[in-house]
Amino acid sequence: MRSLFAPLLERLSELGRRVRMLVRRERFDRELEDEMRLHREMKEREFVEAGVSREEAHYAARRRFGNATLLKESSRSAWGWTWLENLAQDIRFGLRMLRKSPGFTAVAVLTLALAIGANTAIFSVVDAVLLRPLPYENPSRLVWVTEHFAFGPSTVVSADFPAWKDRNHVFEQIGAFGGTSGANLTGAGEPTRVSVTNVTTGFFSMLGVQPIAGRTFLADDGKQGQEHVALLNETLWRNRFSADPRIVGETIRLDGTSHIVVGVMPAGVRYPQADVWTPLALDAEIFSPHSPRWMMLAVVGRLKSRVEISQAQADLQLLTQEMDKEYPPQAAQFRGRETVEVIPLHELLVRNVRSLLLILLGTVGFVLLIACANVANLLLSRGIVRVREIAVRAALGAGRLRLVRQLLTEGLLLVTIGGMLGSITGLWATKILRQLIPASLPADVRLDPRIFGFSAAATALALFLFGLIPALIASRTEVNETLKEGGLRLGASPGTNRLRGLMSAGEIALSLILLVGAGLLVRSFLRLAEVDLGFDPHGLLIATAERPFTAAFDSQQHAAFFQTSLDRIRNLPGVKEAALTQRYPLGPPHNATLMLRIQGAENFRPPQPISVTEISPDYFRVMRIHLLKGRIFSDSDVASAPEVVIVNEALARIVFGARDAVGQHINFGGPSAPWKEVVGVVADVREDALEREPVPEMFVPYLQQPSFTMAFVLRTESNPQMLLGAVREAVQSADKNQPLSATTTMDEVIAKSVAPRRFRMLLLGLFALLALLLAVIGVYGVIAYSSSQRTHEFGVRIALGADRRDILKLVVRQGFKLTLVGVSIGIGGAFVLTRFLSSLLYGVSPHHPLTFAGVATLLMLVAFAASYIPARRAMRVDPMVTLRYE
């Protein structure tokens, strides 16, 4: 045994001795010196005794010892700590050098911190959204399934779902959800509006999400004759029920109907999004092809192992085509040409942000490159200034490797400080970037080893790019040449100068690309602000009242409620006008129909879904929507009067073309619905989004076609928000159980609708400006440095009679050449790259010539300014002063 461990023990005690030496190395040095001094003195005496003069002996002894420092060092190096001591020495020296030039240090560290920070922040979002798997069980097998019809949104018609569920050959499990709506949650406390989504009973267990209290749905939940049950979202449970676990088994009322709470789902379940989930049992009427109304479903499935997505797609396509036969003849209009699409669930959830995130990642990558080039330039300039110092070191015997190591250490220090600062700011910035994460994606920015790994990698790249290259170049110093030159006209080799020029041209190119990108986004934003909304949004308050949607839907009662509330609101002080509408512009989605028929044109089929909005007569007046033809509704258009309809310009154009729309009769409620007379044509309004062209629309009086959800729109005298309390009181004086939802101003609605675009624009603009700033510093640095190098030359030129303006031109031309190269490369690059932005642009081509020209001009001007300052300095060179230095 002992013999086995002996070598190990020996090793250990040897290590112990080494460490002891490291800890007490100062004492060690002193002792070694004492020891050697004794030796030297004894040697000296030996010489004296041999008859040498005292002085001779002293020197002889010293000679025998040779270089005492070297001897000491080699004695020390036996202990194996040289590398550590060298490193400590390099770091100390590096820190001293950095402290000695605080301006340089600050610029370099800040540049790096900004670039690395931006990269860390963007990457942490990319990591959360694109790289991390969904927090579900075995998420790679989860797919999203949809049907595409010849028209309208992609969705799954509920009547197709049972066939998919029972007859597919490709899924382990398949689930669906849909019918997302609002409900008034009443009972304890203030009535609240909550969102409710119906999910099939196996949905959560398919995802592998566990409830935090109670249970998820059982197979029988939701079937006819069973008690109503519901699952609560953790967020609602905390806010509304103070996280009381006893809620499980209690009864809540949704639109007046009792539901027993069976469980609470964690807030992390963001798909499907809802405050409350209720079961969707397959015996519901909506699952029959003969049902009068189907539901739009979203379908998710878990693929069997070894089943490919394409197999699943083919299998479901076949099933859906078989289903076509089971639909009644009326459905033929949209059956027969549908296609099924299957994609990974993760792809569905991130597809809206993927390209944006990749663009941002590319952008911050560019910023990092620019920052690296910039700091490399700075270091190179310093390396050139220090060429003499380096030559002296080399002459005193420093090896090239040792020199590179020392210069690299300085770079390492900068990068480390910059990297640490950057990571901290970056992680802080992720708070702002969080809004890039889609709401339905169950992911959040998390501190992740990968994020630190990325920061470290970015930092290492930076170190390599600008630490190593300058170090290698500087260490190649020709000792003899440098020392001979005497130190005054030391200059960079032409190669170094070319490298520096190339780097700043590259910086200009990269920042031009970013500026063009940002410019295009700004341009899009401006174009959007110019869009004619079709109504006047200022001073408009909106408050929505969603009536309980119950089986006993008494339209007269609801209409009376809305009329009473509206009258009370109208009489509130500060309210100029008020109206009702089932839907307001840029608000919740439309109700749309494909059943539009025209009297006298029986074969007419609408080419796209047509939205229908129920309004009170003065809606157009309150919104300032222009009437183009005919009349608007009046108070006499009541339920008992002849049915009327108003269409917008787009509908009049698409449906009636050159004919006059006013006076035509249309209907859209099925073959038995009564004809409605078109009484007016109003101007188009941007309903869905500012960037979306107006769609064909119809408006009907809400008294003739009641709706259970109506929004009050109020034109107010001053700040609309101040009236909110009074409006709520007015509404609740008509029905004390009626909550208001989506209370907002129209200005806010618009701001919110452009917020993502605005955020993208600001983000990209910020990065582009950062890039511009860095590039300008780069150009300035190169020109300032090279003209300071040429001071002597300028002095000679002036002495020989050159005009000072010639000197100015000389310097500015150098900067101009550099910029021109950068701008040309940049324009080429931007031309290739901006097409990746197309999806983010509005009303502007990715190759918009004005933006390109504008940005190029801007860069030329800024670069001109950056080279003009050093040029002025060069112009004022005093030939006497410079030549005297000879």
Binding site: E35, L38, S75, A78, G80
Partner: protein
């Protein structure tokens, strides 16, 4: 008598053997001792003596303690350890083998 450089690799052996005679010695004494015993043929370079001593300290072959010389001056005295004694035996036998081998090669000329 011309002085010879110490053949490479044998300095450790010489130092260990010198200390093996039982006395504690400081660096100068070690160098003197080697010179004297070799009848002035072997000359220890100070430039290699001290690094060698450091190496042996790390390996644990020798131990060092501060003491006073006859003239009451501070000096570091080196002493052989048990591990050093073992090492000496190994080095001696290895050296012998090498010398015998070299001798054979020279004699069969």
């Amino acid at each position: 008598m011309p002085r010879e450089e110490i053949p490479p690799g044998t300095l450790d052996l010489l130092i260990l053997k010198t200390l093996a005679r039982g006395e504690e010695m400081h660096g100068y004494e070690i160098a003197r001792s080697i010179q004297r015993v070799s009848e002035d043929v072997l000359q220890v370079e100070e430039g290699s003596l001290y690094p060698a001593l450091q190496r042996m300290l790390i390996k644990g072959w020798v131990k060092a303690e501060w003491g006073a010389t006859a003239e009451n001056r501070r000096a570091r005295y080196y002493r052989l350890t048990a591990a050093g004694r073992k090492r000496l035996e190994a080095e001696v036998s290895q050296f012998r083998r090498v010398v015998q081998a070299i001798t054979r090669v020279i004699q069969t000329a």
